[in-house]
């Protein structure tokens, strides 16, 4: 065996909790796979914006002779043709989390389910709130993905009589979520529940609520499965009754399956959709990774 197979990994940089977790899982998995399979080499690049990610992919092809690309597209549309170019060059392509805008490019697709993420949350609200209940929503950074989640959420509570008082962008950021929630609390006398849509934002939201002393009044649903939040769910914190999973560990699955392609003859084509499940005190233990930074 002369040449090592090189797997290029391109993911967004760790600008918020979920991506931080994803970065961590990616690095851990690469370390593990490198140790297990000496015939594999990895090139990991993280990008802060779309353009940079396209550059990274070009560089991997031009200078590192990658045999496979594992990519979590920053955005779907703009990455479609660069990734297609990699595919056309005869490389293996694994797409993670955000699908490309053209079907059939990737050999392997591993993803979370944004629609399910919004729907599962919405269904929990529908089931646990009375008609006429008032909720507020924090959105992420304006992106297609955020739109999908919010649309699914809204669809799920449609007709339930639940009123969304406000929907502002918290940018998946604790500080921003904190100040948005502070303002919600000044603005609205009565809030029954908060859909924070992300565990980082949930942390900020909880602080704002704690400051106003209105903990008893409302509960919060975040999302993604941050260890601190899972812990609270496990401990039956009434403020955080459930969480919705959107595992950053999906990158590990993608990497492992891609690696398998190069170290064995196992046929590994296909789609792996990791659904979003409702994390309740009963099943929380399965989602708890105390060593992850996320």
């Amino acid at each position: 065996q002369g040449k090592k197979a090189v797997i290029g990994v391109s993911i967004p940089s760790a600008t918020h909790g979920f991506m931080g977790g994803l970065n961590w899982h990616a690095q851990e998995t690469i370390k593990r796979l490198k140790a297990t399979y000496p015939q594999l080499d990895f090139v990991l690049a993280t990008a802060g914006n779309v353009g940079k990610q396209v550059n990274d992919i070009e560089d991997m092809v031009a200078t590192r002779n990658i045999d496979a690309l594992v990519v979590l597209p920053f955005e779907s549309e703009p990455l479609t043709s660069p990734v297609k170019a990699v595919k056309d060059a005869g490389k293996w392509v694994t797409v993670v989390d955000r699908g490309l805008s053209q079907p059939g490019i990737e050999d392997l697709y591993v993803a979370g389910d944004n629609t399910a993420f919004g729907r599962v949350s919405g269904e929990y609200f529908r089931a646990n709130l009375k008609p006429g209940a008032k909720i507020v929503v924090l959105r992420g950074i304006p992106t297609t993905l955020d739109n999908e989640r919010v649309d699914a959420f809204q669809k799920a509570i449609e007709g339930s009589g639940i009123e969304i008082l406000d929907m502002q962008h918290g940018n998946w950021n604790r500080d921003k979520a904190f100040s948005v929630m502070q303002d919600y609390l000044s603005k609205h006398k009565k809030i029954d529940a908060v859909w924070a849509a992300d565990d980082d934002m949930a942390i900020g939201v909880m602080e704002a609520i704690a400051q106003s002393g209105r903990q008893k009044e409302m509960w919060i649903v975040g999302g993604a499965g941050m260890k601190e939040i899972i812990k609270r769910v496990m401990d039956k914190d009434p403020q955080v009754p459930v969480d919705v999973s959107y595992p950053p560990a999906q990158i590990s699955t993608a990497l492992e399956v891609t690696a398998l392609r190069f170290v064995s003859d196992t046929p590994v084509y296909g789609r792996f959709i990791i659904g979003s499940t409702l994390i309740t005190p009963e099943n929380a233990a399965a989602f708890y990774f105390p060593n992850s930074p996320f």
Partner: protein, 332 residues
């Protein structure tokens, strides 16, 4: 013969013209607008929220006023704040076994924050004054460096303060004295001290002189490099102080802490009437600038607007309008 000069109405220091009051006017207009849009706007709770939130950027912006007044710039403050917060939390977590949960631990953490801030500011200042690199480039470089160091320290995730320590430390953000939150009090002290330093001490006078014409300052026996260095060190210290107030709020730091704080701080300084080219600094203006920026955010959420996507548009328009009010000055 020289009577002519002496007879002149001597001490009628110029009244602050409309131009100087521009930002203040904009602030007042915003407050009126806010009160009009939402009844809770003037509630004590909301006012406390807005002021306390402004405190971090506010303290940093006061320091930034001195840097800009003396002809410098610092783009690294946001990343520096994240870095300082990260190191502070790590230090407290590390000292916890040895010191136990208690006020000494908190004080040790605060000391770490101040020292790290000071050193970070010193690094910027030395690169500017000793290596003679443009402040823009120096601090663009250190901005990237601090940001990536905190991300690395946090392993891409979040560094969290131990829960028990957190509980002890929380009141530093959330509680206060005489019903006024600590961050507000500290910010007020910093602002007043800054205003006094700018107007009534040698340091402030030298900053203005250096920013106005550094050659003249040098010819006038002003230690130009020393004063410049001091402005960066002071800013670093204030970033440390801001971090001390910031950490108890959420008890964590990550690679995304403090993003764009630099832009907000610089914008506050300029909105407040300090000249970007240096030579003229107005600390109280900076305070007004910080409040304007915070209020815009607050009002955008309190009011129900067309689409949250357009928040940025309204923000941009208000910022420009706020400065149009002091047009007289900048056209001079």
């Amino acid at each position: 013969m020289s009577d002519a000069a002496v007879q002149k109405p001597a001490r009628t220091a110029q009244l602050p013209g409309l131009s100087a009051l521009g930002p203040l006017l904009a602030l007042i207009l915003l407050v009126v607008l806010g009160a009009f849009l939402n009844d809770n706007f003037l509630s004590q709770g909301n006012i406390t929220n807005v002021l306390a939130r402004s405190a971090f950027i506010g303290m940093i912006a006061v320091g930034m006023t001195f840097v800009i007044t003396s002809g410098g710039l610092d783009l690294s403050v946001g990343s520096m704040a994240a870095f300082v917060a990260g190191v502070m939390i790590l230090a407290m977590n590390a000292l916890l076994p040895a010191m136990g949960v208690g006020v000494p631990l908190i004080l040790a953490g605060m000391a770490v924050a101040l020292v790290v801030g000071l050193l970070a500011g010193l690094a910027n200042g030395l690169l500017v004054t000793q290596a003679r690199i443009e402040p823009f480039i120096v601090t663009l470089g250190t901005m990237g460096i601090f940001r990536s160091l905190i991300t690395w320290l946090a392993d891409g995730g979040t560094i969290s303060l131990d829960f028990a320590v957190r509980q002890l430390y929380r009141p530093v953000y959330y509680s206060g004295l005489f019903g006024i939150a600590w961050p507000i009090l500290v910010f007020a002290v910093v602002a007043i001290a800054g205003q006094i330093a700018m107007r009534h001490t040698r340091f402030g006078r030298y900053c203005e002189a250096i920013g106005s014409n550094d050659k003249v300052a040098r010819y006038s026996a002003v230690g130009v490099d020393g004063v410049r260095l001091m402005t960066y060190v002071l800013l670093g210290l204030l970033v440390g102080l801001a971090t001390i107030m910031y950490v108890p709020r959420l008890g964590s730091a990550s690679g995304s802490t403090g993003t764009l704080w630099e832009l907000e701080a610089i914008a506050a300084v300029i909105i407040g009437g300090t000249a970007l080219k240096g030579g003229y600094g107005r600390v109280w203006g900076t305070v007004v600038g910080v409040l304007i920026l915070s209020l815009i955010d607050n009002i955008l959420i309190l009011a129900d607007l067309v689409s949250p996507y357009l928040n940025g548009t309204i923000q941009g328009v208000i910022i420009v309008l706020a400065v149009v009010l002091q047009r007289g000055k900048s056209s001079a």
